[in-house]
Subunit: 449 residues, 2 copies
């Protein structure tokens, strides 16, 4: 298969086929991978999605639903299906995917769907629903390949082949005792390579990384990334094996966390759906804007205080916005580098100190260079040397403060246990506005009046 990107032609073809004969639609759809049809679903109405799901074999239909992004609302599609079809699809889903989708429904719908299921499936899904969505428990799948430590090589291989009927992909085999207590891990390769008379306990690797069900998903992602793991076992406090989280779940988590980081950084609530409607967007953003309005009044009160100065030297009104704006941008630069660095690894006290000193230096230099340009403009265009000097000092001072706060505030927040991303550019910009106005107008009223 060619590496594939869904384009307009594909969407058009499917839309046309939806109008026509079922057999033609079916044969067109078989050209696509489940994950491609899932993407295609984002561009067609619910009715058409339903038609396609009803047409396809259960296995493919459930794969498509499991591949649909959270934002495409697979739960709405599922609720809309005939109860029989729905039951078959849910029973075909992996428990973790079924749990994710059912968790998004209203309680009544949840009861209805779980009531229709086979008892064992319903218990497993209800059980998974008790874990918070953003923890290892919320991410894990309970279906794992496991063998007993005292099995022989042959018994182990037979067990693996038997269990692999149910589990499509497996990367690591878990070794447990009779009470399901996790003793170690082993790879299929190691079993194959073992001597014919070897026992599992001879080749088990008992030095392995694991997580608790309550471990935060970000930590799970860090461990999988740090140790290059295809999967990580999830255990309870007695080391009983509960399930596993696989690398593909972690790739999804990373995308999600990165979206949240960019949103928080820009003063948008982290749970705003990118493709949500305007009502959600207003709910997510208006509180931040109103908070910012409060801080903007603070900055403008500095200007009000110096109104007599501005009235006398009205040219300050133009420079004011340049100095505040440049401070905000320099602070955003320092903030982005520092927040991203904290996200990727913790800084020692010494590294934190060096970071602030570095940003202070950068602010001083960038401030002086930009200050010089504005000085020259004031000197030659406005023909006012003293005004030029005041502006030079204000620019340099404001960019210096921008560097210190851009690096220092997220570092302090991290130290006191607050998410450094709340120091979003909105907050830090207010700081440089206030300081920029204070420095420019304060100096001007002392030196130029």
């Amino acid at each position: 298969m060619q590496s594939f990107e869904l384009d307009k032609t594909d969407i058009l073809k499917v839309k046309q086929a939806l109008e026509g004969d079922d057999q033609e639609l079916l044969s067109l759809l078989t050209e696509y991978h489940a994950s491609e049809i899932a993407i295609l679903f984002e561009s067609i109405p619910l009715e058409s999605q339903k038609k396609i799901i009803n047409l396809l074999p259960i296995e493919l239909a459930s794969e498509i639903i499991s591949e649909m992004s959270h934002e495409a609302h697979p739960e709405e599609l599922l609720i809309d299906l005939e109860p029989d079809k729905r039951q078959e699809i849910v029973e075909e889903l992996d428990y973790d995917d079924a749990t994710d989708i059912i968790s998004q429904m209203h309680e009544d719908d949840q009861h209805e769907i779980l009531g229709d299921l086979d008892k064992e499936d319903a218990v497993n899904i209800r059980n998974l629903m008790t874990y918070a969505e953003d923890t290892a428990g919320g991410l894990m799948n309970t279906e794992v390949i496991k063998v007993d430590a005292d099995m022989s090589k042959k018994q182990a291989i037979d067990q693996i082949i038997l269990q692999s009927e149910e589990i499509e992909e497996f990367y690591t085999i878990y070794v447990v005792d009779h009470d399901d207590i996790l003793k170690g891990i082993v790879s299929l390769k190691d079993i194959i390579k073992a001597k014919a008379n070897a026992k599992v306990s001879d080749i088990v690797k008992s030095d392995f990384v694991f997580v608790k069900a309550s471990t935060d998903q970000e930590e799970v992602a860090d461990l999988i990334s740090q140790y290059n793991l295809t999967s990580i076992p999830v255990v309870d406090s007695n080391m009983k094996l509960l399930g596993r989280v696989t690398f593909d779940d972690v790739i999804d988590v990373m995308e999600e966390e990165n979206t949240e980081d960019i949103l928080k950084f820009s003063g948008v609530s982290e749970d705003e759906e990118l493709s949500g409607n305007w009502i959600e967007a207003v709910k997510s953003r208006l509180p931040w804007l109103i908070l910012n309005l409060g801080t903007a009044f603070l900055a403008s009160s500095v200007i009000r205080y110096f109104e007599p100065t501005v009235t006398k030297i009205v040219v300050l009104a133009g420079y004011m916005t340049i100095i505040a704006g440049m401070g905000g941008n320099a602070a955003t630069q320092a903030l982005a580098v520092t927040v991203r660095r904290i996200t990727l690894s913790d800084l020692t006290d010494n590294q934190a100190y060096k970071t602030v000193v570095k940003e202070l230096t950068v602010g001083l230099i960038n401030g002086a260079v930009n200050g010089l340009i504005v000085f020259l403009f004031a000197y030659f265009y406005d023909d006012n040397l003293l005004l030029g000097l005041v502006i030079f000092i204000a620019m340099t001072g404001n960019l210096l403060i921008a560097g210190i706060t851009g690096a220092g505030i997220p570092l302090i927040l991290k130290r006191v246990g607050i998410d450094p991303a709340v120091a979003s550019s909105i907050i830090i910009t207010t700081f440089t506005d206030v300081f920029g106005f204070l420095l420019l107008l304060g100096l001007a009223s002392k030196l130029l009046l």
Copy 2:
């Protein structure tokens, strides 16, 4: 092993051990995983790193070096080692890791190191160095497990066991013909489960995803993520198998791309190293700030144009900064959501149109709410109804424009093939500054004078 986070105690223990007896240091280090020692290296000087590398067995030493982040400069450590030690370590490295590290060196050092190597290794590394760093060729490892399509089950298993001596981890087995042309993939599980008399060609999966060596790393990451692959084969234009890219490389790529996204979004050059020194930071950020200074002069020229108005109604100076600032923040919000959405998937024309309409609506509502608050302030505090009305209109208009440009500009840039992230908040903020000043001061000079 407990899930692990390196803390100050660990760093302190190692630092103390570095002062003491080699045997004690060695026994302390064996408590850590290679990737943990690699992180630890970020907090200790080059001399201490060198001491540890010289002390440890070659295999572990090379693993640590391969796990060191790009920013910790493993190439500097390698250059600093004795030639014999260095050669042993490089020969132990995977070709892709060796290539990445050697590429970072000066040409003289590259020649020296490659000259010392076994001829085959040197040829392989030189070959990999010809691929651009951010392509599948630059990411791939040339060591893969491959079997011939016409092998029997037993021959294939023997081959896999033989080849797996050299390759620590393998997730997919590649099926090739006698000319190394890739015919399909097969998993170890499928081979084990096959009948005793089966041939590889009976169980090969000939429907698979692959990439060219020149494919951009972001596309490689998208494919691995979309199809939940542990690895993806890299081929030339004749389908000859060149190597494979594994999911762990892609996790690193994703982290790197996300760092670049946040930096670009904040007006920082995407290649600024997060832990780089102040000289690099100034080089990376000063051009953006100077560009912004130019656009800030543009915004301030609007204020200069309306200077007579500001002189007469000096209270406008305070409101001016509120309206421009709020516009900038609202635009940043719309920009963040839109840029992130474009990053995750392409939008159809219809989706793009709907996005702009949504952001326009959000801007209108958020503008009206904030405009109302400022209106009330102007009416009650400044006791000026008409001023309040002017400010209300300016706030609503500016946030409306903020929504349209915050969503529209990145969408247009994407359509014409420019990276939408260059519409960084710096650029878009200038737009709302100019428009905000124009609207407020223009209206004020018509209605209030």
